[in-house]
Subunit: 341 residues, 2 copies
DNA sequence: TTTAGCACTTAATCTTTCACAGTGCTAAAT
DNA sequence: ATTTAGCACTGTGAAAGATTAAGTGCTAAA
C-alpha cells in the first residue's frame, strides 16, 4: 500500500460516507491529477485486496467491511470536534444543576439529533456500590417495603406481602442484623454473603426465618438486576439514512431496535478498554451486519456505563469519535470538579 | 338506514378489516343474494351518506372515518374473546407471584404480539397515594438521600449534596417534623401543605431553613412527576400492517412513535369514563390521522393508569375490545382477591 | 506507468401495452 | 318501485421494451 493507494482508499471511503453513492473513477481524477484509467487500475488493486467492492460489474466502488476497518485503523485523521457541534453540547455542561447521569443522556439525545444516528446510554449503577443500609417501612400489618441504599446514593425498593404468621417486628429485627453484618459490602456480593453468613445467624434468632430471609434476598437481587438504566435516543433517526430507503430493510432494523436484548448486544462493552473509543463495523458489532456501533465506557460516581452510537456502516466515523471524545472529556472534568470518586 | 344497508356497511367494514383490500360489489352478491348491480346501488347511497369511499373512480369501496365510527357505534357485535387469545393471557394471571402492574405490562406485550398492533401502558402511581413517611439516609457528611414512601408502597428517592453550612442532623430533624405533620396527606397535596403549614414551623426551628425546605420540597415534587411508568410494546409490530408498506408512511409513523410527547397524546384519557373502553378513530385520536387508538382506564391499589392499543384505522375492533375487556376483568378479580383498595 | 479509446454491462427511468377489477348508467324484467 | 343484465368506461398494476447514464475492463499507444 503505497501512499497514493492509501489516499485513494481514504478518498473513496470519505466520499462514500458523504454521498452514499458508489464512487466512480472519473470523480477522483482531479483530486489525484491523473486520468480515470489510472484510478481504475488502482481501484482494481484495492478491490483485489478486499478493501472496496462493486455492486455490479459496471458500478462505482463502495468500501467493504475491511475497507472501513482499514480506514478507521490507518487512514482516518484525528478530527477535532466542530465548533457548532461543540456549541450544542456545551449548553448541557454549562448547566451545573444537571446530574451527571442526566447530562449524559441529554448529550446522547443531542448527538442523535444532529447526526441522525441512534444513540444509547446504558448505566449500571450497581458496580462499585457498597451496601449502606437496608430499611424496612411497614405499610400495614401485612405489607412492608424494603429499601436498599448504597454508599453512592443509589436506592432501590421492593414491596412484600407478609404471610399472616410473620410479624413485622421480626422483619425489622432481621434488617438490623443485616445492617450490622453487611454494611460496606459491595452490592453484588451481598447475595452470597447473605447465604453464607447471615442465614445461619437469623436462623437462630428468627422464627419463620426462611420466609424472612427470602424477602431480603429478593430485595438485594432486585437491586442488582434493576439498577441499570437504559436510554435510547433517536430510534427513528437512523431511518433517515439513505440505506434505509427500503421497506424491508427498514422493518428489519426497526424490529432489531425494538428487540428486548438489543441493548445487551449493543452494549457488551465489558471487554472494551475503559479509556478507548471502540468501533465495531458491520458483523463485528454482533448486532446487525449493516450497522456500525461506536462506543465508549464511562465511570463516574460508582456508576459504570456505556455510551454508544449506532449508524450505518457508512457513518461519519470522524465526527462521532470527536463527539464522544468531547463528551467523555467533559464528564471527566465535571467529575473532578464535583470532587467525588 | 334500513337493515340491509346496515348489514352491507357492516360487511364492507369487516371484509376490509380482514383483507385490507377495497371491497367490490361482486364479492358481496352471494352474501346478500342479489346481483352486483343492486349492491352497487346501495353502495352509491352509503357513499353519499359518507360512510364509504373510493380510492379512484373504478376501485372498490373502503370505509371512511365516519363509516368506522358508525360501525363501532351501531353495527359491531359484542365479541367474545377467542379461546386461543384467552389462553395466552391466562398464563399471566395464573402466576400469582406477578405484581399487578407487571401483569398489565405483560398482558399488553402479549396483545401487541398476537395482534401486530402497538400497545401502551401508562401507570400513574401518585394518585390515591398518601404520604406514609419521608426518611433521610446520610451517605456522608455532605450527601443525603431523601426517601419518600406512600401508604400504597410506592417509593421514590432523590439524592442531595448538602452545602457545608448545613448539618445532617437538621435535615433529619426536619424530616421528623414533616412526618409528624403530614402523614396521611394525599401525595399530590403534600407540596402545597409544605408551603403553607410546614414552612412556617421549620422556619422557627431550623437555621438554614430555606435550603433544607427546598430539599424536601424537591423530593416531593420529584415523587409526583417521576412516579409514572410508561411501557410501549411492539413499536415495530404495527409496521407489519399492510398500510405501512411504504417508506414515507413508515418513517412518518416511526417518528411519531418515537416522539417524546407521543405518550401524552396517546393517553390523554383523563376525560375518559373509568369503566368504558373508548375508541378514537383517525383524527379523533389527536395523535395521527391514520391510526385508531383503543384505550381503557384502570385503577388498582392506588395506581391509576391507562392501557391502550394503537393500530391502523382498519384494526380489528372487536378483537381488541374483547382483549381489553378480558384484561380489565381479570384485573378486577385479582384486585378483589388481594383484598386491597 | 500512464492514458486515450472503445466495447460492454447494468441499473434506472420512462413509455407502451394489456388485462383486470371495478364502476355508473340505461333499459328491460320483476 | 326494485332489481337486474348489459355495456361503455376508467384507473391500477404488472409486464415488456426502449433509452439513457454511469461506470467498468482491456488494448494499444504515449
Amino acid at each position: 500500500m503505497d501512499e497514493r493507494r492509501n489516499n485513494l482508499l481514504k478518498e473513496i471511503v470519505e466520499v462514500y460516507i458523504k454521498t452514499a453513492k458508489p464512487v466512480g473513477s472519473k470523480a477522483l481524477c482531479s483530486k489525484f491529477n491523473c486520468s480515470s484509467a489510472t484510478i481504475r487500475n488502482e481501484m482494481a488493486i484495492l478491490e483485489d485486496l478486499g478493501y472496496i467492492e462493486k455492486n455490479h460489474v459496471s458500478s462505482g466502488r463502495v468500501p467493504s467491511e475491511s475497507g472501513y476497518r482499514y480506514y478507521v485503523e490507518y487512514l482516518m485523521e484525528a478530527e477535532k470536534i466542530t465548533g457548532s457541534d461543540m456549541l450544542k453540547l456545551q449548553k448541557i455542561f454549562a448547566n451545573n444543576e444537571l446530574e451527571l447521569s442526566d447530562a449524559i443522556t441529554k448529550c446522547m439525545e443531542i448527538i442523535s439529533d444532529i447526526t441522525n444516528y441512534t444513540s444509547v446510554v446504558l448505566g449500571k449503577s450497581s458496580a462499585d456500590n457498597n451496601l449502606l443500609q437496608v430499611s424496612i417501612i411497614a405499610l400495614n400489618d401485612s405489607q412492608v417495603v424494603a429499601v436498599v441504599c448504597t454508599d453512592k446514593g443509589n436506592v432501590e425498593n421492593k414491596m412484600f406481602n407478609l404471610p399472616s404468621n410473620i410479624n413485622v417486628n421480626e422483619i425489622i429485627k432481621t434488617s438490623e442484623i443485616i445492617n450490622k453484618m453487611l454494611v460496606g459490602t459491595p452490592i453484588n456480593e451481598v447475595s452470597s454473603r447473605m447465604e453464607t453468613e447471615v442465614k445461619p445467624v437469623i436462623k437462630r434468632q428468627i422464627r419463620q426465618y426462611e420466609t424472612v430471609y427470602n424477602i431480603f434476598y429478593d430485595a438485594f437481587n432486585d437491586f442488582v438486576s434493576n439498577n441499570s438504566s437504559i436510554h435510547v435516543s433517536g430510534r427513528a433517526k437512523i431511518f433517515e439514512q439513505p440505506e434505509y430507503n427500503d421497506v424491508a430493510e427498514l422493518k428489519r432494523l426497526a424490529n432489531k431496535l425494538e428487540d428486548a436484548n438489543f441493548i445487551e448486544k449493543v452494549s457488551q462493552a465489558d471487554e472494551d478498554d475503559e479509556n478507548e473509543i471502540k468501533i465495531y463495523i458491520g458483523d463485528e458489532s454482533e448486532f446487525d451486519p449493516n450497522v456500525t456501533i461506536i462506543r465508549k465506557k464511562y465511570h463516574i460516581n460508582g456508576e459504570y456505563g456505556t455510551i454508544a452510537v449506532i449508524g450505518p456502516k457508512r457513518m461519519d466515523y470522524g465526527r462521532i469519535v470527536s463527539l464522544l471524545e468531547y463528551v467523555d472529556e467533559k464528564l471527566d472534568s465535571r467529575k473532578e470538579k464535583d470532587g467525588k470518586d
